[in-house]
């Protein structure tokens, strides 16, 4: 198997059958290859992003097999035929494939998807891509580097936490008093969002101290999951997760105590029942009579808080949620005296917030500095040419004409019937008919009509591709860094290459009458090449000095 430059062979097994033919199974960092041992041409190759999933035959099966299912619906079966160690080999291969699949599914594939979507939706971009990248004129990275704005435009929405994410976990009862939970990635995410501490622990423990399975087993045995039931103490679990969720909540309260205060809102003063309802008055631990109901309520509150909080960047909104405020007030009513000074300030701020609305404020129109013109007369005239041919009518003429007109108008009554002579009308109609004095250019042959559609499309393609190249080229100037220097050279080479290959082809395909159509393209190239030569000369001069 030939490996590409940045490819590495990870695994190889010479006893693998595919469709009952013996062959060699390779795993590289980029793809999976199977090659028949007696036929060099016969081979299978699939890249990891194409692979949807892998399956293995059950232990009870007579054959030890590995199946790859592709996104396009195809699947390949590989039979590990080394009679002694088929199973261990298969498992080894499976583990490799597993890891590589995960790797390939990370960010790059998402980016690729986005890129392919862009190309699909934008045929012009696709054409450009075909011309430049597939034609090996610029590299794909360079092509996309200019379009990073297009790529990052779409950002997914955060998925919230389902209310039944734990009860919704698929539980399989498999005899012997054991329960089997199937956790999906979404569920794990939900658990992390709801119990930040679990996430923390997960980060701490999982790869080093225990594996994923053990961790989640402990989780389900711990108070986090069972805290509202009769405590089934499991020492290992409690050790890991500490003394339950209330700790999480207390942490939060400690942290946010000061900022969450709303002096205008104290529900305890208006309704003493709230104390009970929210079950929070004994959180500080002074009261021993912690009823399980109170704890339950408290956990509800906490869970709501955490779930709301997990909605990224909405912390400010959450602060305003009544729930949190109430809890705060209830918990800290005894400490109220201590910070009465700061509370006054806060009260002021809160009052101001309550009575003023952003919408009602006039916009502070910051129009920037005013234009200070010294010479306004010139400015007001704008970029116009003064009139040269002013015909001057003498004052006496004006007076005569005015008085004539005045006297004429005195007795004038519009006679609309004879206001145009038929000769004049005929002339006007002639002038405005095709080929008339005012319509001369109408019959000129249009370029769009004489050039065929395919040629137009072809030209358009060329303009697109060359325009892109030239844009890259010109954006390098002024050349201020080593990277730009290299890019200029690369681009100049690409442009010359374009000139010698693509443009030559275009010119050859043009007929005599359309031969001028390529001139402009050529001119653009020449300007760029001249610029490049000038720049090169200067570079040489600087170096030789």
């Amino acid at each position: 198997m030939e490996l590409a430059k940045d490819e590495e062979l990870l695994y190889q097994n010479t006893y693998v059958k595919h469709r009952k033919m013996m062959g060699t199974f390779f795993l590289s960092t980029k793809r999976i290859v199977w090659k028949a041992s007696d036929n060099d041409e016969l081979q299978l190759c699939s890249y990891y992003p194409e692979i949807k999933m892998q399956k293995i035959s059950p232990d009870t099966s007579s054959k030890v097999q590995l199946q790859l299912q592709l996104h396009n619906g195809n699947s390949f079966n590989f039979h590990f035929a080394n009679s002694d160690s088929a199973k261990t080999e298969r498992d080894q291969a499976k583990d490799f494939v597993q890891q590589l699949l995960i790797k390939s599914r990370k960010k790059p594939s998402k980016e690729l998807e986005e890129k392919s979507r862009l190309l699909k939706e934008n045929p012009e971009l696709y054409q450009l891509y075909k011309d430049l990248v597939v034609g090996n004129i610029i590299s794909a990275e360079e092509f996309w580097s200019n379009r990073s704005g297009m790529l990052t435009s779409s950002s997914g929405q955060n998925i919230g936490v389902s209310p039944e994410f734990l009860t919704g976990a698929n539980v399989n009862v498999s005899g012997c008093n054991t329960l089997k939970y199937n956790l999906s990635a979404d569920m794990i995410e939900s658990i992390f969002k709801t119990y930040p501490k679990v996430k923390k622990k997960h980060i701490e423990c999982v790869p080093d101290k225990m594996n994923e399975g053990e961790f989640w087993t402990l989780f389900f045995q711990s108070q986090y999951f069972h805290r509202n039931r009769a405590s089934t103490s499991n020492n290992a679990a409690n050790e890991l997760f500490g003394s339950g969720a209330s700790k999480d909540f207390n942490d939060y309260l400690q942290k946010n105590a000061r900022s969450e205060r709303d002096p205008l809102l104290d529900l305890t003063k208006s309704n003493t029942f709230l104390d009970e309802a929210f079950g929070t008055n004994d959180i500080d631990g002074q009261s021993a009579a912690t009823t399980s109901n109170a704890q339950l309520l408290q956990q509800f509150n906490h869970q709501s808080y955490v779930i709301l909080h997990s909605g990224e960047k909405r912390i400010k909104d959450i602060r305003d949620t009544l729930l949190i405020r109430v809890i705060y007030v209830l918990v800290h009513s005894d400490k109220e005296q201590n910070d009465s000074d700061t509370q006054k300030d806060r009260k002021k701020i809160k009052l101001r917030e309550a009575v003023s609305y952003d919408e009602l404020h006039g916009k502070d129109a910051d129009l920037g500095p005013k234009l200070a013109l010294k010479n306004t007369q010139v400015y007001a005239q704008g970029p116009t040419v003064p009139i040269q041919d002013v015909t001057v009518i003498s004052q006496s003429d004006v007076e005569v004409a005015t008085s004539n007109l005045k006297s004429k108008l005195k007795n004038w009554s519009a006679n609309l019937v004879e206001c145009i002579s038929s000769e004049a009308a005929c002339k006007a109609v002639n002038d405005l008919s095709p080929n008339g004095a005012l319509m001369k250019s109408v019959l000129q042959v249009n370029l769009t009509q004489s050039v065929s559609q395919s040629l137009q499309d072809d030209l358009k393609k060329h303009y697109f591709a060359l325009g892109e190249l030239l844009r890259h080229f010109w954006s390098c100037f002024p050349v201020q860094s080593k990277g730009l220097e290299e890019k200029v050279e690369r681009m100049a080479a690409a442009i010359s290459k374009y000139k010698s290959s693509n443009l030559q082809r275009l010119k050859a395909s043009l007929t005599e009458e359309h031969s001028h159509l390529a001139d402009h393209l050529l001119e653009m190239i020449n300007v760029a090449i001249n610029k490049y030569k000038g720049w090169q000369d200067r570079q040489r001069n600087i170096r030789s000095r």
């Binding site: 234009l371 013109l373 010139v378 400015y379 007001a380 116009t384 004409a401 108008l409 006679n415 005012l438």
Partner: protein
């Protein structure tokens, strides 16, 4: 009638009513005939569709005013009530005779008011009053451009463009750079007549069809418009020049201090590399 009906196609007609500017053409068509031509054109426009409406603006010596606007229907009652006797004596449509009468009277008034004359007529200054949807503007002009009104005219042209109001122009004898640009920018028709005789026929042929009909007609081709600007320093047309980044004044040479707004400039020159 009262207010303007929800009519489509309001035509705003800006006519040059400077009788002195009309003097050179008096041999071919005198001023009264000119007004008659325009009145016939207006009537034709109104007859095209009962929802059509019209506003006429006279661009006069040193001032401009409405000769007629849809809001002026009551005007007739307030003025000379005796003259209403004359109206509709020949069986014309009442509305048309109303309008004709108003225009006629207003033109008379205008000319009587006129004292001494200034040959320069600022046709374009009045364009700025426009900008209603579904309307178009037709400018009939026989005086040369003056640059004193450059900014308001340009503002008005771009406003028209923004509101999708095409500006048509029918100029007599002298090309108008402003109107060429206005027509080009707003997608109107620009027509230059060699002489005013037959004006009515030109108007009826080229400018009567409304916007939607124009697509199907063969109309005068769009001429190439000279968009070159003149530099502020010598008033010469230039193709490439320097523009002040603050006040947008144009100069043909690099100047360290903008003559209009006194901004100081330094020409940025690529830094030379030090000797290696």
């Amino acid at each position: 009638m009262g207010t303007r009906r929800s009519g489509e196609n309001l035509l705003i007609l800006v006519i040059d009513t400077n009788p002195l500017a009309w003097l050179p053409f008096a041999a071919e068509m005198d001023f009264t005939r000119y007004i008659e031509n325009i009145v016939v054109y207006i009537n034709s426009h109104l007859m095209m569709d009962h929802r059509n409406s019209i506003a006429v603006i006279a661009s006069h010596v040193n001032k401009s005013c409405y000769l007629y606007s849809p809001h002026m229907d009551n005007w007739i009652k307030n003025t000379n009530s005796n003259s209403t006797v004359n109206i509709a004596k020949d069986g014309r449509h009442e509305e048309l005779s109303h309008i004709n009468y108003i225009i006629e009277t207003r033109v008379k008034e205008l000319v009587q008011e006129m004292a001494t004359a200034d040959i320069h007529n600022h046709v374009d200054q009045d364009l700025r009053n426009k900008g209603q949807a579904k309307s178009r503007i037709l400018v009939i002009k026989c005086t040369p451009d003056t640059s004193f009104q450059y900014l308001p005219i340009m503002n008005c042209i771009f406003t028209a463009q923004k509101y999708n109001v095409p500006i048509d122009a029918c100029v007599i004898e002298k090309d108008s750079g402003f109107l060429q640009q206005a027509c080009d920018i707003t997608g109107g028709i620009y027509l230059k007549l060699q002489s005013p005789s037959g004006l009515l026929q030109y108007l009826l042929t080229a400018f009567l069809p409304n916007q939607s009909m124009r697509e199907t007609l063969i109309l005068p081709p769009k001429a190439k418009v000279d968009y070159r600007a003149a530099c502020f320093c010598h008033r010469e047309l230039i193709e490439i020049g320097y523009i002040c980044s603050v006040c947008l004044s144009i100069s043909c040479k690099f100047v360290p201090v903008c003559p209009t707004c006194q901004t100081h400039f330094t020409l940025r020159i690529a830094k030379k590399k030090k000797k290696a």
